[in-house]
């Protein structure tokens, strides 16, 4: 399906299966088969090693620092010199659920709003994406373009009219309001992405199912859907990540009854200063589930994040 599949399978099968992919291996093990290009010299290997080490440092230090700080006593956080050794404490985490900082409602709003929008996006996106993939209607290209262009609209420009509309119908400060708002970017994404996944399913499969007596719906439900499971899961996860990470919409549309975790995090920034320990704890709380979800669908990420534009060889 996606090109990244190839990357994975190659990396996995390089020692045994692939005569073609032994670039970095110790010189001499399979040297005779390799063209000069495939042999990486020591110098190059050192350069690549150093570059990757720097890249990992640049990428991971902020995350590790956030994780560490979430377990640090406040004195260690507020020290002018970086503290690497400290007595770990769970105070910042327990502090999130006790006293004035009751995080549970925020967590619930986040789960409901992001989850609801992701579920709705996948259901409606699967229907519309399949319809679009199989439809022979005229103007399909215009329809496709319109769908994807709505996904590209600047958030600030979308929020503005939605705010007035939601105010008129009483959707401000409600979880359903947030779900609807998130659908403005998740629904076109889901339709477009699932359309790409469905287009890869050979139409002959549904034809034969129909010959066997299936209705159109049954052919879709029992033949096509199971074949696109990975696409459905990827779409769900990406929609979930987009909605879970949203800040701009939640900032405008949510109130005491619907504020989400990113809002909770930003509210720790007050005039009197910032409780960095709590912020790092919330941060860990917000970030870790999405990282795990994202890595779980890594194989299909390229297809997903490029909206199916980079598929196949």
């Amino acid at each position: 399906m996606s090109v990244v599949d190839t990357a994975d399978s190659r990396a996995a099968s390089a020692p045994g299966g692939g005569t073609d992919d032994n670039r970095g291996g110790p010189a001499g093990t399979r040297g005779s088969r390799l063209s000069p290009l495939e042999r990486t010299g020591t110098g190059t290997r050192v350069v690549i090693g150093v570059a990757l080490a720097l890249a990992l440092l640049w990428t991971l230090v902020p995350l590790v620092w956030m994780l560490l700080s979430s377990f640090k006593p406040s004195e260690a956080i507020n020290s002018a010199d970086p503290q690497w050794l400290f007595d770990p404490t769970l105070r910042h985490y327990t502090g999130l659920f006790t006293g004035g900082n009751e995080l549970l409602p925020y967590l619930w709003h986040s789960v409901a709003a992001a989850g609801g929008s992701a579920v709705l996006s996948v259901i409606l996106g699967a229907l519309a994406g399949y319809g679009l993939a199989r439809s022979g209607m005229r103007g399909k290209r215009h329809l496709s373009f319109w769908i994807i262009s709505t996904r590209m609209a600047p958030i600030a420009a979308v929020v503005l009219p939605l705010f007035l509309m939601f105010r008129q119908v009483g959707l401000i400060d409600t979880v359903p309001g947030l779900i609807l708002a998130y659908l403005t970017f998740n629904l076109p994404f889901a339709i477009w992405l699932l359309n790409a996944f469905f287009a890869d399913v050979p139409q002959a499969l549904e034809e034969s199912a129909r010959v066997e007596g299936c209705t159109n719906w049954q052919a879709f439900r029992y033949v096509v859907l199971p074949l696109t499971k990975s696409g459905l899961v990827t779409t769900f996860v990406l929609c979930l990540v987009f909605a879970w990470n949203d800040y701009a919409f939640a900032l405008v549309f949510s109130g005491p009854h619907s504020q989400t975790l990113p809002i909770a995090a930003s509210q720790l920034v007050t005039q009197s200063g910032i409780d960095w320990g709590q912020l790092c704890a919330i941060g860990t709380f917000v970030v870790v589930p999405m990282m795990l979800a994202g890595l779980a669908v890594r194989r299909w990420l390229v297809t997903g994040l490029t909206l199916g534009a980079v598929t196949g060889e």
Binding site: L160, Y247, P262, V269
Partner: protein, 308 residues
Amino acid sequence: MTTDTESSTTKTHSAEPAPPRRRIGFTGRMMAPGIALLAALTVLPFVTIVVMSFSEVHLLGGLSLDFAGLSNWARFFTDPDMGWFWLRTGLYFVLTLGLEMVLGVLLALCVWRLIRGRNLVLSMLLLPMFVAPVLVGLLGRFLVDPTIGLYSWVLEQLGYGGDVLGGTFSAFAAVVAMDVWEWTPLIALITLAGLTSVPLPLREAAALDGAGRWQTLRHIVLPSISNVLLVALLIRAMDAIRYFDIIWVTTNGGPANATKIVPVRLYETAFRFFDFGYAAVIGLAMLLASIVIARTFVRMLDRKGLAR
């Protein structure tokens, strides 16, 4: 944009009652709920924002719109600061996109050379993509905090003692760096996908013909992934136009407007100064810019046969 929708939705409906061509009816029915909802969520706001741009919007004591003619538009075109906001936005995008493309491709080339631990390294490198942008901003503030920040401390050891988010140049550099931190992995991921699909015989043939590593890269590898790089660039460009969370929580457009890009300006015009009419004009201008880019985007992909 609006006409596209109307024509397509009517088509969807008109296809339904034709009994001999049932398949079109079925696909039409499948599409109807999603498309209808999307239309409601986009066409209505579009009409609303157009109306707003010609109005004075009052929020106190119930919503009311007073027709204001072209005054919002006139203000937009005569606002002496507006040009700077657009210019700064352009600079921000060119810098972030440029750095992300260069670093992302270099990173992908390095990871590509890796056999052992490639999956592990790639997984670790991808992590920033899943961090909520608002947390990227807040974490950035933590790291460059003038008294307790880890990176401030490092900079101090290197001889730079100032408040990073307090200086106009350094604040701009900092928000660019945060964006680069978060999104370089995306470019690397897409590029790596392209690299692994470059046919090996092609590279072998080049090597047999005596091409050096650099020549092979320059004349074989890069041209064969140019399409993928184009996709990566355009995908990132479209998203870069959308988001502004990082700047909003780090500098709020300051200091002295140094990081005030157009979406930030729109947001504060609407939700800090409650000048919705003027904000609507800025919003429409942004929408227009993004539609032009989206059109180019789809057309370029089409020409390369990459769009579905």
